[in-house]
């Protein structure tokens, strides 16, 4: 019986070529990604050489951005990119994970598919549409209602002080949150679906309530994966350009208030690249691209480190 099975499944001896070919093809495909990143990095480095040699490291902490006098610095843009992405994550991750939990654990079967479709449609809306919707619908509402309320109730915090224009760091964070919600939700949903039923059954068998089951059997089992979903969302948030530039106010400044306008790395490159006429100006925009790549890599490394330390303290070892 055994011999019969093995002869029918295994290839006849001597034809190992498909195995080797497949292995190399797969390795090549994986290698391409690395090559691509290296090439992008190299191109950005080559383009920004002039700026690198002119400004050196202080480019990173200079707050000046003055194309007329050819003087450039990246700090307000780095600040804007990190803060707007952080706001987006703080909103999108709880919302996305909660939606995914509802869809996998709680929602009635016939509701699941329509909600999943609605989320997927959200992912198909072009960036510029979110931006226009931001300008004409979201911003006026934020300015007249939410921001006024925040200033009234939390105005003692520096985060919610100063004049309200509508366009602001907070508005950008909210728009990005809406835009990364589909990816955070879909991935969280896949992660939660991959939690074995055995986990849930075991928790129920111990007498856990539904909430306790979610907490001890599902969420803690899936936390690494959920963290990964957040990181993918963060990757999208850092590079989001068009919608952000339409609602952030495009002012290269570092302000404590979330009501104040700001600027991001991706936005300034998109805004100023087409009309950049001097070589140093163009080179500085390239360097901003290089900085964005570096920020993205650093944030991912930091996330990996956090992920490692997190598993160590996990109550349930998997």
């Amino acid at each position: 019986m055994r011999t019969a099975t093995s002869t029918s499944i295994l290839p006849p001896p001597g034809s190992r070529f498909p195995n080797i070919a497949f292995k190399w093809a797969a390795a090549l495909a994986a290698g391409m990604i690395v090559v691509l990143i290296v090439l992008v990095g190299w191109e950005l480095y080559a383009g920004s050489r002039q700026s690198l040699s002119k400004f050196g490291a202080p480019f990173l902490w200079s707050t000046e951005w003055d194309p007329v006098n050819d003087s450039y610095g990246a700090l307000p843009f780095i600040f804007g990119t990190l803060v707007s992405s952080l706001i987006a994550l703080l909103i999108a991750v709880p919302l996305g994970v909660a939606t995914a939990l509802f869809l996998t654990e709680l929602a009635p079967q016939r509701l699941r598919q329509p909600i999943v479709m609605a989320i997927e449609m959200l992912a198909a809306v072009p960036s510029v549409i979110f931006g226009l919707w931001g300008i004409f619908v979201l911003i006026p509402w934020l300015r007249d209602h939410l921001f006024v309320w925040l200033k009234h109730t939390l105005g003692f915090l520096p985060l919610f002080q100063g004049p309200i224009y509508g366009v602001s760091m907070l508005a950008a964070g909210i728009i990005i949150a809406i835009m990364i919600l589909p990816i955070v939700t879909s991935i969280s949903r896949e992660i939660l679906r991959s939690v074995p039923d055995l986990q849930r059954e075991a928790a129920y068998a111990l007498g856990a309530t539904r909430w306790e089951t979610l907490k001890i059997a599902v969420l803690s089992y899936a936390r690494r994966g959920l963290f990964g979903a957040a990181i993918l969302g963060l990757g999208r948030a850092l590079g989001e350009t068009m919608a952000v530039t339409m609602v952030i106010g495009n002012r290269p400044q570092i302000a404590a208030s979330l009501f104040a306008p700001g600027y991001t790395l991706a936005s300034v490159v998109a805004n100023e690249f087409a009309e950049a006429t001097t070589d140093l100006y163009l080179s500085s925009l390239f360097e901003l691209g290089l900085v964005l790549l570096a920020v993205t890599i650093l944030v991912n490394i930091a996330a990996q480190i956090m992920l490692k330390s997190m598993t160590g303290s996990s109550p349930i070892k998997v």
Partner: protein, 333 residues
Amino acid sequence: MKKTLLALLLIGAANGASAQMLINGAGATFPQQIYTKWFDEYRKIDPSVSFNYQGIGSGGGQKQILAETVDFGASDGPMSDENLAKAPRALWHLPTVAGAVALSYNLDGNPQLKLDGPTLAGIFLGKVTKWNDPAITAQNAGVTLPDEDIVVVHRSDGSGTSFIFTDYLSSVSSDWKATVGKGVSVKWPVGLGGKGNAGVAGQVKQTPGAIGYVELAYAHQNKLPFADMKNSSGNYITPDVGSVTAAMASATIPDDFRFSMVNSSGEKAYPITGTTWLLVYAEQKDHAKGEKLVQFLNWAYTTGEGFAPSLDYAPLPDAVVKRALDRVHSIKY
């Protein structure tokens, strides 16, 4: 580049094997509407040639014509001496149409405002901060202006519109010239940045107390009120096609056509105006293409200019057309 290739392929496929000539251009976005109109109309006159224009921005237009990857470039600002020196041979600026930059605002009741240059510079420098500032009320007797903060809105993307506007502010305010200067992007002392004309118009429309500058066509299309500006003869002028042409007629235009027409001296000239240029090599490498390009330019200056007013562009005054045509006829191919 990919888009150009794709366009080439598509056009090639549409025409089968027939050898239709394709002339490529790239650059400024401000004149894109009129250029597209010209190319459409010209196809009816000479079907053997088709034009492909990519509105990639003036910086890109300058770069591509310098690298000779296109047959003509286009720019909203004149090329700097530094960039022009990179050209492999004589590269000419040919002005095509002109436009006005309008000051739109958002005030209750949409009053018709009058402003002069120094006041406008004060607003954009952050020194005039309230709508009822004496500098504004003194020029607007009969209009009640609120005790409201002025919210300045400017372009966030590099643009020829910003160039014209900052060029104007530099010419009327030494303070502006010293602290900010002129350029397609500048370091704005105050205000919010909106992306594109649409972004600025949208933000002005949405923000009470806002003031921002947009191309005249945008102010028209969005039904925004816009200010009459005081010109150098002391008259308050409404921006329209006539007052832009008047500005150009009274501007001093040097032989190489690289000129600024802001704050020009004409009695009826609107002060915040600018022109846009095609960038063409004086000697064309490709004989057949050069011939077609010259024929087209000849048509554009004689017939094409007539299409400008319907699209809110100002046609060139006759004297300038004549000078430009002389230049076109001396292109060698």
